[in-house]
Amino acid sequence: MSRFIQLHLLTAYPPANLNRDDQGSPKTAKMGGYDRLRVSSQCLKRTWRTSDLFQTAMSDHLGARTKLLGIDVYNQFIAGEVKEKDAREWTKAIAGVFGALKKPEKDKPLAELEIEQLVHVSPAEQQAIEVLTAKLIEEQRAPEKDELNLLRLNEQAVDIALFGRMLASSPAFNIEAACQVAHAISVHPVVIEDDYFTAIDDLNKGLEDMGAAHIGETRFAAGLFYAYICINRELLIKNLGGNTQLAARAIRALTEAAVKVAPEGKQNSFASRAYASYVLAEKGDQQPRSLSVAYLKPINHRDNEDFINDAIKALIQQKESFDAVYDDCADRRYELNVSARQGTMAGLLDFVS
């Protein structure tokens, strides 16, 4: 069994401002003496962790998006001859695990059972709610704290096992993250461009006050990014209490999110969403290493006509050089190469899990 799963991704973004610094400018880093575009590790993790795709990929099947989870449970309690007052309290306890509940309303007695926002409930969670509801009806008692905690345990466990504890959550879950994510760095030098823009007032006829109603400036750049992720599979399994199946699902979900989900920054202005053009996945116990050094000498417009293919070539050459000098740096590998139509998403997910 391999301890480490390494993912190397090349993703091309059109003009965008995915991750900003305190000046509102896209983040950069110097590599090989040239300025490169950068998306921070924190930004990438936040993007994947909060994405719909990660959540649905975790639950295998599409779940439901609902605010009305509580109403359903309440009706079952009433049908199960639970006293109205109890039914209301027990329902609030169960629905309250999934989201904050609405405030009570005078003329709408069931409003307080609704969740403030749409929440995603996976099929497994729906089933767990049904089982718990039936049990409570049979035993005519309120849910216990542990039973409530179980409802979302998997989702919570995976989030923390992969990425480590949250800022606000209880220190009981102080766990070493099983996933390491590097800052994504462009394979080529970059110059940040300024877009000076104006907005005119459509109702201003220009009789007195000429000129723009608003002026502004947006900085942006396009980039082909190299991103690197290293998952410690054994640590992940340990963090999940030995549940290898759940660990495999978590790795699949993370991989899919990393390939498909773009950072949210300025997406409304740039619509710069992109899927990875190339993915190299590696498995082995050997000391993991990123292949960023392939781009220490930048891919640039003077030497390279085809950025993506030249970047892929550089990555493969770097991998082979490392293998030749230090012995194989991984036991098994899988490639997804979009321009060569090589590999599939399903094949990649099966390989990593």
């Binding site: 003496g33 919570q156 989030d159 606000a168 959550s169 410690n232 000498k297």
Partner: protein
């Protein structure tokens, strides 16, 4: 003395200095706490295992040769936390940021300025002291097949090259060991290595002939032939004392600068 040497390279590294708040500074060469942390991670020592941690902290003397100190990179970092709401508990980061979106206040956003070094390359030399809990040979094996993630000061700074650890027996000094280390090129060169940093690496990482050396122990541990009166002796607060209490104690370190030819 026997010395274990290995290379630290990544596009970004962060060697934390004393930091109490918003500014998270980096030094321009690896700190002892970071190197011990890397060795501990390779060996699979848990963070909260105080006993073995303290033996690791006391068991080794380090020296560092900086080939390239790289350039300073400052990263503006924000982290958002929503206010709590009634009895509801946020169970995932997604809960916090999606369900709690309306409740993220300006004051609930934590700002920090994190420093990194980019394009830095250093060699680390480790010498086992009398009560070292692991032999240098054991450490070397684990560096090749580590138990936990290895990184350059921060988890977001992975290694971008094999550590290429070499155990050199019976070295006269740290400097002798640094000179005896067989370098392998990071960038492909198409030629076999002559043991020196390759011209290509030197060009792209801005490595000149000058070297910065840092070591602990006696001045003459570094070299028995160089005139070390030009050395600087200073105090650095990077000797870990307790991981649990996040405590470090000062240690004495020598610094020697060698200009290139």
């Amino acid at each position: 003395m026997d010395i274990l040497l290995f290379r630290l390279y990544g596009p970004m590294a962060s060697w934390g200095e004393i930091a109490v708040g918003e500014s998270r500074h980096t030094a321009n060469y690896p700190s002892k706490s970071a190197v011990l942390g890397l060795i501990g991670a390779a060996l699979g020592i848990e963070r909260d295992d105080e006993v073995i941690q303290s033996r690791l902290q006391q068991g080794y003397a380090l020296a560092v040769e900086v080939l390239s100190a790289g350039q300073l990179l400052r990263d503006y970092h924000t982290a958002q936390v929503p206010d709590s709401v009634g009895k509801f508990t946020y169970r995932t980061r997604r809960d916090e940021l999606v369900l709690g979106k309306e409740r993220i206040r300006l004051g609930g956003t934590i700002l920090s300025s994190r420093e990194y070094r980019s394009d830095a390359l250093a060699l680390v030399a480790v010498r086992a002291l009398a009560d070292a809990p692991f032999s240098l040979g054991q450490i070397r094996e684990k560096l090749l097949r580590p138990v936990f993630h290895l990184y350059l000061g921060r988890k977001s700074c992975p290694l971008a090259a094999p550590l290429h650890p070499q155990l050199l027996i019976d070295q006269a000094s740290f400097l002798a060991a640094f000179k005896a280390y067989r370098h392998q090129s990071l960038l492909p060169t198409g030629q076999s290595s002559d043991g020196q940093p390759s011209e290509r690496d030197c060009y792209w990482l801005g490595i000149s002939g000058e070297r910065h050396y840092f070591w602990e122990g006696a001045p003459e541990d570094f070299s028995d032939s160089l005139d070390l009166t030009r050395r600087q002796t200073r105090i650095r607060h990077d000797q870990p004392l307790s991981r649990k209490r996040w405590q470090f104690v000062p240690r004495q370190e020598h610094y020697f600068y060698q200009a290139g030819e």
